[in-house]
Amino acid sequence: MSLAAAPRRVERAGSFDVGPIFFIGAVVVLAILVIVPLAWLGVISLQRVDVGGFTLGNYVDAFTKSIYLRPIINSFVLAASVATIAALLGTPLAWLIARTNLPGRKGLRALITAAFVTPSFIGAEAWILLAAPNSGWINRAIASFTHASHGPLNIFSLGGAIFVMALYNVPYTFTFVAGGLELLPTELEDASSTLGASAWRTMRSVTLPLVMPAIVAGFIMSFLEALAEFGTPAFLLIPARLQVVTTQLYLFFQFPVRTELAAAYAMPLIGVTLGLLLLQRRILGRRKYAVVGGKGGRRRLIDLGPWKWPLLGAALIVPMCSVILPYLALLATSLSHIWSEGPVPGNLTLYWYHWAIFDNAETRRAIFHSLSYGAAAATIATIVGFLIAYTANRRLFPGAGILGIVCMAPFVVPGIVLAIGIYAAYSHPPLVLYGTATILIIAFTTRFLPIAYSNLNTMVAAVNADLENAARTLGATRLRALRTITAPLLRRGLLASWLLVFIPSIRELSSAIFLFTPRTATMTTQIFDFTDAGNYEAVATLAILILAITIVIVSVAYRFLGKDFMETTST
């Protein structure tokens, strides 16, 4: 057979390019998810209550009354403290685990991952069981020891809230810094020591500055999370007589509902978040700290010598407080008839598990909802994120990069504020979604789209465009090339992105709390309801169930994807 060129071919009938439709579809979905709610939020904040018409009165009200200003200050103090402590705890932990021969490193990593998947408000509940001033088990134990009237710990305090929130924010700093340290070749540090610097000095003047971008990224992440947190402040700070912005927003939604005031109150939160992210870019932009690409250099672990065991003990304190003690407390409570009597023989029972899984249709439905909404949100976010990442990366049309920014926009909006925007946008004709599963799925998708997008963006950028272009020169349309070449190559990344949306969706409370109704309750809203009714046993049982499901899913993921899929990319 000769390889002579064939005569010119007739174009195949019916082979019109569906590609543009998909991309336009992704853009439309993006608009629904992100642009409309945020726009509504802005519009509503300027509306007169009930009457309609424009006014700046909401902003005046929101920011001149001292009862509204105090929560703002409280929020910032809380967020700054949480972020600082999380960074102070996370950085040495990361160094110990990523750079030294600390025994049990693998186990510690697993424990830190367990902290990552634990919703902070469940941790708060557990710590109430442990450290409520009179009834907390730790306090009771200490009190009976010292014969005092009550124990020394009071979880219902600013310190208590900072403690709990910091514990569950440590994973952020840890992940970023550990990731950064792992890519740092040892040669850089060797250079310092050959010049005579001690290990400590090397750490301080070489290692630390080089991972500073990661520390800053972790700090900012923790700050934003703490600013947007609703559950823990609701549980721990109200008794401490401290309102924060999120609980205040919640109050605005009680009768009489003042959406307009809430919207005005919420807007600056967006401004602050945006400002912080820009600041981060500025701080990090000036010094070129390209984390040395790929797996840099040989990595020799630092020998801790005799300090191994004491440092292990110190390192264990964090997971002890964030995972071991709380999970034990929850487990014990879930197995008790009456939790206040403690996990003593005679009080032990499997009743609550039976009730949650078999008897209580509500709870079963809530579990199902959590999983299905999470799955739906993860799927939509991954697809949209992928298409947009592709569109932006390959510059399908001028200004495509803006789509990337829109995808990241929800990142600057605290969950509870986003929920308000979504509520405002989709609670009246023509699109009434309030009370449906759809609105919750929209909330979760929007909230976590930035994670999926930034992850996929990095991955798409790493795929050489030549690979797709080669397919196109062979007659494949862009969409076909995307489907047969790019997507299969990114299989692992797509799955990782899916999980990175699924897991936070399961533990999401602050946006769900506004948008759910009994028919669409999730596990987290159920837990919240049960705490209000004081049914701690049910709370603990559900909490253990959520944790168990999440840990199973994460373990399976680890098996298939390797240990580094949880490393969220820094913005």
Binding site: L3, A5, A6, R8, D466, A470, T473, L474, A476, P488
Partner: protein, 362 residues
Amino acid sequence: MARIDIAGLTKAYGKNGARAVDAIDLAIADGEVMALVGPSGCGKTTTLQLLAGFLKPDAGTITVGDRVVSSAKHVVPPEKRRMSLIFQSYAVWPHKTVFENVAYGLRVMRLGRSEIEDRTREVLRSVRMAELADRYPSELSGGQQQRVALARAVVVKPETLLLDEPLSNLDANLREEMRFEIRRIHDATGITMVYVTHDQTEAMVAADRIALMRAGKIAQVGTAHDIYEKPATAFVATFVGGTNTIPATLVEPHVVEVCGSRWRVRDDFDPAQRGPVTLCVRPHSVTFAAIGDDAVGYQENGHNRLSGKVLRQVYLGDSRDYLIDLGQTQIRVSAPPSEDRSVGSTVHLDVAVEACRIVPGD
């Protein structure tokens, strides 16, 4: 097979940016191998991307046969241009076997299973990759991957084959082999080929004609012989083959004043033109004259004579490389290894008038 006509093709960086490709015209004959050569940033890759349809021109047109495939208004998308592309990075898909890589284009064309099977196996045989059909690219060497890319590109019987630095990532002996492979395919199929490279030797070996590009414009188009022997500018002269460039002044037709003496040169400009020009002399066209004669400038024996001092010499095995100081300028001389002059000694050099070319003062 197709003839390609590029007319006034322009592409700028950004809005008011510099032009990557600046209103170039090029005609490529049906079945020709045309090389686009030039230093990095000269616009050759951008031209190839425009040819392939990945970029839209800001002005100008690209016509294949009798249809306009690219213009400022409309670009036929790559999948409809029937131009295969061989990439510098091979772009062989890591998640598909060799067979699946090559069969891809045929599958897109919706051919029958047995036809796909047959054609794929045949082309794999022709590039000697048949036994490796079930391997994955990660199991292949660079040369093997490039052969897969070649097979994949030609199995669909394209009208044109575009090659973007296809050999840069290969080591020296593989390059030799692949050059042969590419040429063989061309000879067997008569496909029109456009070959981008920064290596002028490669261009001279592989192509029928060479288009030398610089800063977005075509400096010269011609056969290797044309370009080497009759460079149009000093840039062309120095790019292909390496040459000495000596500033001179044209005082009469065929006569320049250089280094204080008069030389005869080969080229003819506009007989009325005078003024600064650049004199190009290839290093190996300069020979050492017998020591003794002191005269410089044009000698009536068809040679120009010059004298200078040896600044440096390097023994390279099959030649000696000299750097000679002529007073106002320095030149390189490539002499047979037996010519051994010591550093610092004064030497006389002869260069034939035929080897003295002038190009416009650059």
